[in-house]
Symmetry: C2
Subunit: 274 residues, 2 copies
C-alpha cells in the first residue's frame, strides 16, 4: 500500500523524491491513478453503466441546486464521426464507443420560468452562463471518476468549443444551451496504453493564506525538467519545454482553433452575457 | 451491498421506486453519498490531509495541460471571518476550519510567456477565462471527493463571486486571477447532520443522441413532488416548489447578489474577455 502510494505520487509529479502524504484513502488512490485514454476498444458502454455514471454526475454539488446542465449520450457511429470532424479530427472522438457531451443549460431554467410564469431576466447575465459551465464541469468530473471505477477510460474533448453552432445543430440544441466539452468513454485498448502525466509541483498551485506569483518560478523550472524526462520516457518527440509548449498554446487568437470567437458563438446560442 | 445501493439511489432521486443500476463500484457508492455539510467541528485539517487533497485535485484533467488554476488554503480565523463577511455571511464559511479558494489563474501563464519571451495574446479572450474556470472546477471536484474520503465534509461557496475585487485584495491576487468559488472543508458536526439532496430524474438531464426540452416537463413535475417530500422530511419551511424556488433565483439582476456585475469585475481583474 505504501509502495503504491509512493509510486503514484512520484508518477503524478514526475519526481521520485516527492514524499507521499501520510493521509490517504482508496478513493484518493483511485483519483491519482487517472490517465487520459486516447485509444479505445469498440465494446459498447451499457445502459446500466451509463445510468450509474449519470447518477454519480448528478451527485456532484450544484449552485443553488439549479442543476443548470444536461448531458447528451452519443453512441451512434455516424454522429460520432461527425462530432470527430467538428472537434479537430482527433481519432479518439470517432473511436470511443460513447461520447458524453456536456451542455451548459439555461434552456431548462427558462422553461421552468415559463411554467411558473415568472421573469427569468438573470439568465441573460455572464454569471448565469458561468454557473451553468461550472455545474457541468463538476458533474462531468464525477462522471469521469465513476467511469474509471467501472474499468472504463476517459479523455475530455475541449475542442467541442471549436465550432459550437455546428455542434448545436448536430445535437438539436435549443437557444440558451451550448456544448462545453465532451468526454470520450470506453474500454481502454491495452495494446496502446496511456500513462500518468506529471503535474506542476504543489508549491506552484497551492498557496498559503495569500497568493504568490514569485514563489512559483522555481517550481515551474522543476516542472519543465520533469516534463522533459516524461516526454523522453514516452518517446514523444516534444522539442520544447512545458513553458514553451504552453506559451505557444496562448500566443494569439489563431492558437485558439476557432475558440477566439466564443463570445460571438455564445451570443448566437442565445446567451446575452450581460 | 444491494440494499445500500437501492437506498442511495432512492435518496438521490427522492424516489423509493427508482431502480438502482446493475453497474456499480465502491467509488460510485462514495460519490452518491455526497451531501453538502454546513455545520463543522473546529478540528483543524492537517497539512498531510491538505497535501493529499491537492494531489487529488491535480490528478483531474486539465485543458492542454495548461493547469490554469490555483488554490489558496485559508485557515487563519480572522481571514476566514473576513471571507464570511464578503460571501453573504454564511455561518459555515467562518465555522469550517479550512476554506479552499479556487482561482481561475491566467497570471501564471502570463508569467510563463514572460519567461519564454513570447506573446500571450490569447489570454485576453473569453475562451481562456473559461478554460481556467473549468480547470478550477474539475480540480475542485476531485478535491471535494478526496476530502470526503478522509471523513471530512465539504460545501461549495459560490458567493465567492459576490464581491470579487474585495476577495482579490484580501488574498493578494494579481491581475488575470479571480476567485471562482470556495470549498469549506472540515469535520462534520455529528450533532447537526446533513442529508442527501434529491436531484432531477435522469429523464430530465440525460439525452439520447439529441437534446429534447419537451421530454423534460414530466420529470420536472415529478421532481417538484420529490423535493416537497424532502423539505417536509427535513422539516424545512420551504413554501414553494423547486420550480418556483429556482425561478426566484433567476428572476432578475438583483437576485444575483452582486454577481450581475461579474463582467465589470472580471475586466477590473484584468480579464479582457474578448
Amino acid at each position: 500500500m505504501n509502495i503504491a502510494r509512493q509510486q503514484l505520487i512520484a508518477a503524478r509529479y514526475g519526481d521520485a523524491s516527492q514524499p507521499a502524504p501520510a493521509a490517504w484513502s482508496p478513493i484518493i488512490e483511485h483519483l491519482l491513478k487517472h490517465r487520459s485514454v486516447r485509444a479505445y476498444l469498440p465494446d459498447p458502454v451499457s445502459d446500466e453503466q451509463l445510468a450509474a455514471i449519470v447518477a454519480a454526475a448528478q451527485s456532484a454539488s450544484s449552485s443553488s441546486n439549479l442543476q443548470a446542465w444536461s448531458v447528451i449520450a452519443v453512441r451512434d457511429a455516424a454522429r460520432r464521426a461527425k462530432l470527430a470532424e467538428l472537434t479537430g479530427k482527433q481519432p479518439q472522438v470517432g473511436e470511443a464507443p460513447l461520447q458524453l457531451v456536456w451542455i451548459a443549460d439555461l434552456a431548462r431554467l427558462e422553461r421552468v420560468t415559463q411554467i411558473t410564469q415568472r421573469p427569468g431576466e438573470a439568465l441573460d447575465y455572464l454569471e448565469m452562463f458561468l454557473v451553468a459551465a461550472i455545474d457541468a464541469a463538476v458533474a462531468a468530473q464525477n462522471a469521469a471518476v465513476a467511469a474509471e471505477s467501472l474499468g472504463l477510460g476517459i479523455v475530455y474533448t475541449g475542442t467541442m468549443r471549436n465550432q459550437p453552432e455546428e455542434i448545436a445543430e448536430l445535437l438539436g440544441l435549443p437557444p440558451k444551451t451550448i456544448a462545453m466539452f465532451g468526454l470520450c468513454v470506453g474500454r481502454p485498448d491495452p495494446a496502446r496504453p496511456a500513462d500518468i502525466k506529471p503535474r506542476l509541483p504543489q508549491s506552484v498551485v497551492l498557496h498559503d493564506e495569500r497568493y504568490s506569483l514569485d514563489a512559483q518560478t522555481p517550481g515551474i523550472e522543476t516542472y519543465n525538467a520533469a516534463m522533459a524526462r516524461f516526454y523522453e520516457e514516452q518517446k514523444m518527440k516534444v522539442h520544447a519545454t512545458w513553458a514553451v509548449h504552453s506559451s505557444k498554446r496562448v500566443a494569439n487568437a489563431g492558437a485558439l482553433s476557432g475558440r477566439d470567437r466564443l463570445t460571438e458563438a455564445l451570443h448566437a446560442r442565445g446567451f446575452a452575457l450581460k
